[in-house]
């Protein structure tokens, strides 16, 4: 008897469509769609994909409970031995959907979940403690490498063999601590490590320290009626014609635009963001960056003023390293200009 695998993909990999279909509700089809097909070919006749769940990324993230109700219903009925989701690469919404599904399937149905994500995918932190996540490249170009790793891990889990350490079996560390027997006691191992360090030799810590990069909340604005508020967005809103050629995905730069004479973004701005359906944002750009309302508040004296420059970039697929750099550069300008507070909108 073959083990049953149920596969989850988003609207894009499910061949429903691109961004314009990101709002589609989950659907179950009793066949292999997209990566499910390649994945199935790697299961060595020991297991097979019995069907594919397809859900729009926006639908999942905006209607998580409804999406999960349907998805968990299907999974309960199909009773697979394992659920495979993705790989989501560096697609944030897709990763969050895979993670949401993984946590729910594991918690509520007790079925293991395998996925694949890029290290910076925000979905990874959400689910890595419970799901088995394979590290992938940052784009769908990494499919060929990702699927065999995910398949091998899936087969090992199905076989009931105990998984080895993350680096042995190719999944990202779940943060678990296991009891193992070793030759040398702790004090000896610690001294060995210390000596290796003195000698400039390689050594491997047994307890990597987590990196908590938290920024303390900045103090609140004391008097809003005197405060200058800056408007920033990662929603890709640019002046019509995109004069600085800001990328529609994986942004390499940000833009600064004079909005001193604008009562709203409407009429002069559009979005070049490649990660969502732009129809609504282009109709009324203030739906993404609400300059219109800030102007109202300025007129009414509720805020001191709107900072004369508007800052913008594209958030989709943009590396954390670039996002950090953009934030540092924009933040420095805002600080030097004496801006009192910032509203940053994301799509």
């Amino acid at each position: 008897m073959k083990y049953k695998v149920l596969y989850y993909v988003n609207q894009f990999f499910g061949q429903v469509g691109g961004e314009e279909k990101a709002g589609v509700k989950p659907e179950f089809v009793r066949k292999m769609v997209g990566p499910a097909m390649g994945f199935n070919g790697l299961l060595e006749d020991k297991a097979e994909v019995v069907g594919t769940l397809i859900c729009g990324d926006n639908y999942f993230n905006e209607n998580k409970q409804e999406a999960l109700d349907y998805i968990l219903g299907v999974i309960k009925e199909e009773a697979p031995d394992i659920v495979v989701a993705g790989p989501a690469f560096n697609a944030g919404r897709y990763g969050m959907a895979c993670a949401g599904l993984a946590n729910a399937v594991i918690d509520e149905l007790g079925i293991p979940v395998v996925s694949g994500m890029y290290m910076e995918n925000p979905g990874l932190e959400e689910c890595r403690a419970k799901a088995y996540v394979v590290e992938t490249g940052d784009s769908a170009g990494g499919m060929r490498e990702a699927l065999p790793k995910m398949a091998a891990l899936t087969l090992k889990l199905l076989s009931g063999q105990e998984l080895g350490k993350p680096e042995e079996d190719g999944y990202l560390a779940q943060g678990r601590r296991l009891t193992i027997f070793v030759e040398k006691r702790g004090s000896q191992r610690a001294v060995d490590m210390l000596l290796a360090r003195f000698r400039g030799e390689e050594f491997k810590t047994e307890l990597p320290m987590p990196v908590f990069d938290k920024v303390a909340p900045a103090p609140a604005i004391k008097d809003l009626s005197k405060a200058t508020i800056a408007l920033v967005t990662s929603g890709g809103m640019v002046p019509l014609g995109n004069p600085d050629r800001i990328q529609s995905a994986s942004a390499q730069k940000w833009g600064r635009y004079d909005i001193d004479k604008n009562v709203a973004l409407m009429g002069d701005y559009c979005t070049i963001h490649g990660g969502f359906d732009p129809v609504y944002a282009n109709e009324i750009p203030d739906r993404v960056a609400p300059l219109d309302i800030l102007r109202d508040y300025e007129k009414e004296g509720k805020i001191g003023g709107v900072y004369k420059y508007f800052y913008t970039t594209t958030g989709t697929g943009t590396s954390v390293a670039n996002a950090v750099k953009f934030g540092q550069e924009i933040g420095k300008e805002l600080k030097d200009a004496g801006v009192d507070g910032v509203i940053l909108t994301s799509t």
Binding site: E62, A220, I221, F276, V288, I293, L294, K335, V342
Partner: protein
């Protein structure tokens, strides 16, 4: 970006729809918004109602900026 701007000591409020991402990247002041393609709008509403909705969301953001917080807070 939110975190790096806040590092300069300027209070910043993140208006975002997928607030779980916002929390996980370390925003301290967050206003949950409507939908990914139109965070501060809703095309299904009439013009006046949509304006009211946007006004309400921006008001919430400003409330966030004048409120002292110790940890991640949703407004």
């Amino acid at each position: 970006m939110v975190k790096e701007i806040e590092r300069y000591g300027i209070p910043i409020v993140h208006m975002a729809t997928i607030t779980t991402i916002s929390v996980s990247v370390g925003a301290n002041r967050i206003v949950p918004t409507i939908a990914i393609p139109y965070p501060v709008g809703d095309p299904s509403l009439g013009e006046a109602a949509e304006h009211d909705l946007r006004e309400k969301l921006v008001r919430r953001a400003l409330e966030g900026l004048v409120t002292e917080v110790e940890e991640v807070t949703l407004f």
